[in-house]
């Protein structure tokens, strides 16, 4: 069965304290892995798509990486405005996308 597991469920960091969020997946065939950011009460906002192992994408303080079994979202020197829930999702080959339950990130000033 296709599965996506995100860890940790919640993470509290001090402003400037870098860390990584993990997304491990088990799918029959990966056509794409996606990262989204979701603010409270709003819909998820697209961040990155990764297609193959070894690929990396960057946007401001965020960098996403992909291996054959997991993806990491690295956050460098985070700021309070980076506080959000980060969702990982995989596209296994049909037209549905499977989501993890997310990591709630809280950056303390």
């Amino acid at each position: 069965e296709d599965q996506v597991t995100q860890s940790p469920e919640a993470l509290r960091l001090q402003e400037g304290e870098s860390s990584s969020l993990n997304c491990s997946y088990t799918v029959s065939g990966l056509r794409g892995l996606f990262w989204y950011r979701q603010d409270p009460g709003k819909g998820p906002e697209f961040l990155f798509t990764l297609y193959s192992a070894g690929e990396e994408k960057e946007k401001e303080r965020l960098k996403a990486t992909l291996t054959k079994k997991e993806s990491f979202l690295h956050i460098t020197a985070p700021k309070p405005e980076d506080s959000a829930t980060y969702l990982c999702a995989v596209h296994p080959g049909d037209d549905k996308i499977i989501f993890g339950k997310g990591t709630r990130l809280h950056i303390l000033p």
Binding site: G41, G43, P44, E45, F46, A89, H91, D95, I97, K101
Partner: protein
């Protein structure tokens, strides 16, 4: 940019009411989806559609139906609202290929 617009941000309905949630996308995407999102349960797929007048059940279709009469519009219908349908409802669309979803801003539905 692709826009997915959900007609209401907040709704309060009474138990037993028929509820319509509307979603419109403006980029000619073939695929549209309805999810509900609950704390601790993540995103759960209710229904999706690959094309006009086509619909497929997702993981939790019970108590819901959908309508897709035009390519840009995908409606979620709660036939007889119940309190356990209180949730955040998210509409999404995508084109074919290896592309992710674009989400709407969500509808927070409370059934009392």
């Amino acid at each position: 940019d692709v826009k997915v617009t959900q007609s209401s941000r907040y709704l309060v309905k009474r138990t037993g009411e028929k509820v319509f949630l509307e979603c419109v996308q403006d980029m000619d995407h073939e695929n549209m989806f309805w999810y509900r999102q609950d704390p601790g349960l993540g995103l759960r797929l209710i229904y999706f559609s690959y094309d006009v007048k086509m619909k497929e059940k997702g993981d939790i279709p019970e108590g819901y139906s959908v309508s897709r009469e035009k390519k840009e519009r995908f409606s979620l219908i709660l036939e007889s609202a119940s309190t356990n349908q209180t949730s955040m409802y998210l509409c999404a669309s995508r084109t074919g290929g290896n592309y992710g979803y674009t989400f709407g801003s969500g509808t927070r539905l409370t059934v009392v």
